[in-house]
Amino acid sequence: MKEKLQVKDLSYAYHELSGETPALSHISFDVEDGEFLAVVGPSGCGKSTLLSLLCGLLEPEEGAVLIDGIPREKSRAVIGYMLQRDHLFEWRTILSNVSLGLEIQKRLDSAAKEELRQMLTAYGLGAFQQARPSQLSGGMRQRAALIRTLALKPDILLLDEPFSALDYQTRLSVCDDISSILRARKKTAVLITHDLSEAISVADRILVLSGRPGRVKSVLKIEFAPEYDRPLARRNALEFSAYFNQLWKELRTDEDKT
């Protein structure tokens, strides 16, 4: 398969008057077209920084990000970034919140608006188009944030702990839904998560980062039989706990060293 996203020897440090914080050091990995990559690592190891670098919010200090083999800044591919918190604007209705991206890129016409309405309905938010974000539950807000990201029809989707604000039950079902949507649409996705079982249940591969400054510790290939295609089904598969233990061990060895 073709590489959609290539990360080559990426390093980044934050600079402040009080000193320098190295966040990432010499990160390299590839993501194939249509692949779902999960990234796990201890808190503060630079996972959010990595996504900011991938989508161009930050410029790498060393190394490069290639999309379809072209440097990111020259590529015309659309990257959707779902931030750690939903950041729905309270002064906008849900409908105008999810149309924010299209509005900024001046692509919001009545056809696009109709499509957004349909998406909202499909994701169970149809009755809340004119509601304010504070009238929605946490899970509904996350879905609205996802629609806002998907509205731009991104080729690559970057998800920064999108489910972390949800209660466990909602989290399982939203995660199941979202990953099925992404798989159905054959999106290339990078998902950051703290939850190891979440990573195993959605990902094709898992990238394990070390503590700060983040380095690639290992890459774990996840393979399930085809009947276990949905995240909830994967959790019932026999291999699941084996993968879990393996991943747990990878992270633990990192902890022991520091």
Binding site: F89, L100, I104, Y123, G124, R132, R148, L152, S173
Partner: protein
């Protein structure tokens, strides 16, 4: 999409029950406020059937309680005014306070009547009101624009900040004679004086507020392909509306102060002019009447803004 059905249904119900009723309250008490709500209008066109759900008992109780609270606040406010006026009148007539210095409500009313018969009070009040409104408008526009400029350029902000602090703390009344010499003895001088009283502090407040915008919200706009202009229009300004309004509240007062100072020095009309004129002929009653008009000029403005701010904060 299948989330737990009960959760969705539940939130939806409260949503249906609450929204239209909330709007009914605000429409009943102050029509211009409900006009300023832009979005919900669209909904009524889309889903008209949502507007007449039966209210639950608790919701009705809650609304009743809110209504009672508002009525109580109004009644006590009015009663306090009546009480103060009555005490003042009593103390003055029994000689507890010197009526020659402090006057009394009845004398002020008589004086006001006399002056309104020849129409002079309306002319002077009108002039002061006009000057205040013009300078207030200028302050809001200039301060918001300047604060945005400072936000756009960090270097400019850092260079100018000490100068702004200095200008803000400069005693403007001391500067007023200079303005007269420079701009002449006219309304322009008064408006410049009033603007100078309010504008620098306003710029500083707004700029500080702008800088506190959540950096993640700015990142969100950037990740959606937005520029700094989008950040300004879609995040900074809407999220600063409550701040801008509370700042406006302070500015109305400051502008009035500035206008009065200006009129003390260089006017042929206006309440400040009247006060100076009266103090020259030493008529306390006159001074006090005018002072009270000044006070009442400030009150409705303040009230209007509070209502708006209240509405906007509940929106945001």
């Amino acid at each position: 999409m299948k989330t737990k059905p009960d959760e969705t249904a539940d939130t939806q119900d409260t949503f249906r029950a609450e929204r239209p009723e909330n709007r009914r309250i605000s429409r009943g008490s102050d029509p211009e406020v409900s006009e300023s709500r832009p979005a919900p209008r669209v909904k009524s066109a889309d889903q008209p059937e949502k507007k007449q759900p039966p209210l639950s008992r608790r919701q009705r109780e809650f609304l009743e309680q809110e209504r009672r609270h508002r009525t109580n606040v109004r009644i006590v406010r009015v009663m306090m005014l009546v009480l103060l006026l009555a005490l003042w009148e009593l103390f003055a007539s029994f000689g507890v306070i010197d009526a020659f210095i402090f006057s009394s409500p009845s004398r002020i009313a008589a004086c006001f009547l006399r002056m309104s018969r020849d129409g002079s009070i309306f002319l002077h009040t009108g002039v002061t009101l006009l000057e205040t409104l013009v300078s207030f408008g200028l302050v809001v526009v200039i301060a918001t624009a300047a604060a945005m400029l400072l936000w756009i350029s960090r270097s400019l902000a850092e260079i100018l900040e000490p100068y702004l602090v200095m200008l803000n703390s400069l005693p403007k009344s001391a500067m007023a004679p200079l303005l007269i010499v420079w701009l002449g003895n006219n309304m322009r001088t008064i408006i410049v004086a009033a603007v100078s009283v309010a504008v620098f502090g306003s710029i500083l407040t707004l700029y500080t507020g702008f800088r506190q915008t959540d950096p993640d919200k700015i990142r969100l706009i950037a990740s959606l392909g937005g520029t700094r202009r989008d950040v300004l229009l879609k995040v900074l300004i809407p999220s600063s509306v409550p701040l801008i309004i509370s700042n406006m509240k302070v500015n109305v007062g400051l502008c009035l102060v500035g206008v009065i100072i200006g009129e003390f020095l260089s006017a042929r009309a206006g309440l400040g002019y009247l006060i100076i004129y009266a103090s020259q002929v030493l008529s306390r009653v006159h001074i006090l009447t005018r002072l009270h008009i000044v006070l009442f000029l400030g009150l409705p403005n303040f009230h209007l803004l509070t209502l708006q701010a209240h509405d906007n904060i509940s929106l945001i």
